[in-house]
């Protein structure tokens, strides 16, 4: 049977070039980068080479690159660290209502520490407005955090406009670019950000490695303490194989973006059009334009996302859903709710995220197979029954 991986926004396979580089390091370069002997020195060199690759990929200086253990840790180091380090300057922070939990939960924690946080609303397509942002600014605003692109619906945010305003007003600006890197151009000087987070496992690199870009001259505070690694901002013996793997992955991702992203966008559009035209009562979540090239988020209304996801998986299509039942929480995805979707639509959402391995043939298969799945679950659904009878929905 077919087995199509359609969850590249959750994580990606590790590409062979990355595995090979990592295995070489695992076998040959086990020395501690802090050791000055012949086993340690090559490890240090490997880290600095990877740092240069990462810097180049986002147009930064190598000295502005800090390796951390995940995208989550990068987000927190930027947000918790800089808010705490700069709290004497003010206690107001701004972010959006559709951030990843790595960002949202960091801000929730800061609220408990006495900071005030404005969560910017989004429109029906998941985008914040620059006007709302300007209105939210206060004299005591010290930090703004806006994701480059949304992980659920793929909406690209106006980070450059926000960045220009922050720079002008000398407010720290963090960008969660975990989903954007390798999909759309990410240039820290063009964005005018002070911090930017990215993660290895979203770009065909290893899990358990992330990067925080931190502009020179900007201050943050470590989340925990120990050795002097990564300029004391992220102590602990460095994960050399994963750092090297991330370096290889980001170099390749950025080099291939120019051809891969348009290819994915074409497949994505075909998928969206195919599903929307084949299955009644479906809708695209997020915008048509200005979305990540590999993200299709579609609601198949009147059926529940986890049931959809499981049935798709049995037919060899592995994707994800914004339904509450996937995560074990009570409410469906905070992103879909912030976009103003009804519970009915939010619960029926399916995120199909494409990647290197996705072919046009796969897309045809999905379009063909999704309809009978929807039909079957709808036949079981009392809500679909009500809808068809013209009765109110639950």
């Amino acid at each position: 049977m077919r087995s199509i991986y359609l969850d590249h926004a959750a994580t990606t396979p590790v590409r062979e070039e990355v595995i090979e580089a990592m295995v070489k390091v695992l076998r040959e370069n086990y020395g501690n980068p802090s050791s000055i002997h012949q086993f340690g020195r090559p490890s240090r060199k490997l880290i600095e080479e990877a740092r240069e690759k990462v810097a180049k990929a986002i147009n930064a200086d190598p000295r502005e690159i800090i390796f951390v253990g995940s995208g989550t840790e990068a987000d927190n180091l930027a947000i918790l660290g800089s808010a705490r380090a700069n709290k004497k300057k003010g206690n107001h922070l701004i972010t959006t209502s559709v951030e990843h939990h790595a960002v949202l939960d960091a801000f929730k924690a800061l609220e408990k520490e006495g900071f005030e946080v404005t969560y910017l609303p989004v429109d029906g397509e998941g985008r914040i407005s620059v006007a709302d942002f300007k209105n939210a600014l206060r004299d005591n605003t010290i930090l703004v955090s806006v994701m480059h692109a949304n992980n659920e619906v793929g909406t690209i945010m106006p980070v450059e406009e926000i960045g220009a305003i922050c720079r002008e007003k000398k407010i720290l600006f963090h960008v969660d670019a975990v989903q954007a890197v390798g999909k759309i151009p990410v240039d820290v000087t063009q964005i005018n950000c002070d911090f930017l987070a990215l993660s290895g496992h979203k770009i065909y690199g290893p899990k358990g490695i992330g990067v925080l870009y931190m502009r020179r001259g900007v201050r943050t505070q470590p989340l925990y303490h120990g050795g002097g690694q990564e300029r004391k901002l992220r102590p602990g013996t460095e994960n050399v194989p994963n750092i090297v793997g991330l370096g290889v992955a980001i170099e390749l991702a950025v080099a291939e973006m120019e051809t891969e992203s348009p290819r994915l966008a074409k497949l994505r559009d075909k998928l969206i059009d195919g599903v929307l035209s084949t299955i009644p009562e479906t809708r695209l979540n997020g915008p048509r334009e200005g979305r990540l090239p590999h993200n299709a988020n579609i609601s198949i209304v009147y059926v529940e996302g986890e049931a959809l996801l499981l049935t798709c998986d049995m037919k060899g299509m592995s994707c994800s859903s914004g339904s509450a039942c996937t995560s074990g929480s009570l409410d469906p995805s905070h992103v879909l709710m912030a976009m103003g979707l009804s519970h009915t639509i939010a619960h029926g959402s399916l995120r199909l995220s494409l990647g290197h391995s996705t072919t046009e043939d796969d897309i045809d298969y999905i379009i063909r197979e999704l309809k009978p799945i929807a039909d079957r679950l709808r036949a079981m659904s009392p809500v679909w029954e009500n809808f068809q009878k013209g009765l109110p929905i639950a």
Binding site: V303, A307, T311, L330, S342, T344, A379, P382, A394
Partner: protein
């Protein structure tokens, strides 16, 4: 995360559908939490035997599987037996549910009780069921 039994009942749910002239119909859950279960009972008024039972469910894998399993567990059984069916028994019959999904088995028990309450009202028999038992669900 799901047991083979859950996946079996999810993939091949038993007793899906409606009963035109049902003796009792119960619907519980709501769209907010993402699970809605509707259960239809056909009860023999003389013998108090549940002769047929069907369901329709909007919900996750566990919601569909517990609906299916609960219908199977009460089909051909007496009202008393149905009344004594607990959510734990349903979950156990499925070889267990993930902790975050236990509420689905509660929902299945409640759907059955709601259908029996409807039957109590329609038949005039006193099954000892009380509208208040469902307040929790309505409130949500």
């Amino acid at each position: 995360m799901y047991t083979d039994k859950v996946l079996d009942h999810f993939t091949n749910p038993r007793n899906v559908g409606e009963i035109e002239d049902a003796s009792g119909v119960g619907e519980v859950g709501n769209m907010k939490c993402g699970d809605i279960m509707k259960m239809y009972l056909k009860i023999n008024d003389e013998s108090n035997v549940i002769e047929d039972v069907t369901f329709k469910t909007f919900g996750c894998g566990a919601a569909i599987a517990t609906s299916s399993m609960s219908t199977e567990m009460i089909k051909g059984k007496s009202i008393d037996e149905a009344l004594s069916l607990t959510n734990k028994a349903i979950a156990d019959a499925l070889d267990g549910l993930p902790p975050v999904k236990m509420h689905c088995s509660v929902l299945a028990e409640e759907a059955l009780k709601a259908a029996l309450l409807d039957y109590q009202k329609k038949s005039g028999k006193n099954l000892g069921l009380n509208d208040d038992d469902f307040e929790d669900w309505d409130a949500e």
